[in-house]
Amino acid sequence: MPPAKSSPPESFAAACARVRRTFPGAFAESPRVETEKIAPGWVGECLAGSGLAQLAADALGSPGALELWRRLAAECQRRGERVAWLDPVACLDPRSAFPEGAEAVLWVRGRGWEKALEAAEWILRDGNFGLICWDGFLLGRAEWRRIPAPRWYRLQRLAARRGLLLLAGTPPGVVLGAASRRWELPGRRGMDALFGAGEEAPAPEPVPLDRADGGAGSAERVG
């Protein structure tokens, strides 16, 4: 009996490529280290996707993240979607953020990250909220380290399956491995950027958004 004809050995890269082609679903949600350049129409771009996304910013440097999120919420309501604002440290100031009230926004505040993750899961399962803002900008590094990574993957899958967007706000240097899209708001802003040159006629500058450095190696990977 002649010996079975064996195929020539393929390179490791070729084998990986073949596996990716054969099982594309297995790699669809794999974490991508590279980050995206934010176009001027970032709000529309952000809302175009679903699943878990990350926005990193140093909230103590007045970077404008809150303003961005307000615009996201406004755009969502314009599209007829509801917004859930999960606030583990209860830092939202509704009087300045929503001076006229916000019927489309459900604000769940306080009780720490663990309860906020639980609320995120309930709200994702509910399916009535198009955007879930998980405001963890002011959570400390130590608390971020305590959040188990599988919790984010679980939420990512839930959100992707239901076509909803879960946007997690993190301090800079924290990398959510489960997030399929990541942005960073670099730098700090001063009074000129916030209130304009003169007090009588404040003219805030557009929120500066830059490409994130993509340095996951230097950043701290928490999920």
Binding site: D58, A59, L60, G61, S62, P63, G64, L66, E67, R70, A73, A74, E75, Q77, R78, G80, A90, C91, L92, D93, P94, R95, S96, A97, F98, P99, E100, G101, A102, E103, A104, V105, L106, W107, R109, G110, R111, K115, E118, A119, W122, I123, R125, D126, G127, N128, L138, G187, R188, R189, G190, M191, L194, F195, E199, P202, A203, P204, P206, V207
Partner: protein, 495 residues
Amino acid sequence: MAGDYAVLEVPDFPLAALLRRREAEGVSRPAARLEERTGQSLVAEANGPARECGVERGQRVGRALALCPRLALHERDAAAEAGARALLTGWAARLSPCWEEVREGVVAVDLAGRSRAAFVAETWALPAEAAEAGLSLRVGLADTPERAAWAARAAAPWKEARTNPDLYAGVSPAVPLLPAQLVRRMEDWGLEDLLAFVRLSREAVGRRLGSEGLRCWDELRGRRTRPLRGVVPAPAFRAEMVLDPPVETAEPALFVLRRLLEEVRALLERECRATRELVVSWRTIDRGEGERRIELAEAGLRGDRLFAPLEAVFGSVRTGAPLGYLALEAVPVVVGAEQGELFVQALRYPDRFAETLARLEGEWGSVRCGSPRPTPDHRPDGFSLVPPPAVLPAGGEAGLAGTLPERPREGLRRFRPAPRVRVRLEGERPVQWEGGPREGRIHRLRGPWVASGHWWEEETRWGAIEWDAQLEGGGVFRLVCRAPGRDWFLEGVYD
């Protein structure tokens, strides 16, 4: 003229009603209801397990307990009977708007105008539905209300007796439905069952028993009918129960709540109403009281959709003492008036929405979740939380999108509670602070803004001097000096 009638009967109604609220499905212990008669406590009704032990109607308590030591004795429970009555009349009203409560636990329904196939199918399904609600229901169908009542009496659990006189075979004349004098004379004649009575000729019965005998014979043979006396009960969509013994854990409380919900739903259904608001109230044995109001996203009547938010809310209720009383009330709505408008944005999953809100409110409390609404004053951190509405106005015309300015507005992230900081002043102006999440020398400063309010009330008065301070490396914070101690706090960071 004969027609189509159904009679729904719950045997031993007072006992069945109170056991329904006390025992879960599948649990059946010997039980009896007592009544006072001639100064003695006698057994008024006994359930199946008690009857198997020899307990019978009219027995003294001592005798009954001797026969069945595990016998549970109950007294009449008006609230439980009202609840069971609501269920029974609700099923009747579902069959036809023309129904009559013949006596307690028995309802006759005039099925005129209904197709036979429809009412047979509906009445056939009723006993199973009743069993789920914890009641044993018998259904009889016949051409007159009286014959339908006899059919129900003989049903197990459904029977139709249009022309069949065998219905009366084996039924003793000594039943409470017949006049006592007539029963005695029938026994004198040696009639063993009602079948023998209805087989007599009409002339013979009239000659010997007179007009009363003739009336009974006609009723039993279906030759005499009557219009039903319809009743219009006062619409009160509420069910309540005194919990005895008091309930300490959530599981039995939820069981009772489910029973109460069944009763309220039956009342709503009977009146062709739905509900979009449920109110649960309770009292503890130490006279503590509580109430939860659950607003549903859409009006509905389905049991599972109504129970899910109830379970979510009530499952998180903590009381200092066991519950002694539980009540459930539904706010009724006319379903047709609840139809949405064409351009109004409804929810994708309205049933889930109510449940999710109820769970969040149960876990976080109403002061920690809801839609923010600024209070109508100038207090810096004044806001209230209201339940988000089920229906939003059309996009972009009102609400958040309509109020968003074209240019970014400075928003504030608050530190709650605001950390106390040490501030170095030059004159009246702060130049540096220590403490809080970030500290340092102030690079630029705006202010002061002096604000106060509610000065006419001792407890709620407030006053503050606010400064906006930028650190050298960036980041703009709000520093606040509060009266009366002129302490400094880092209230938040602009973002």
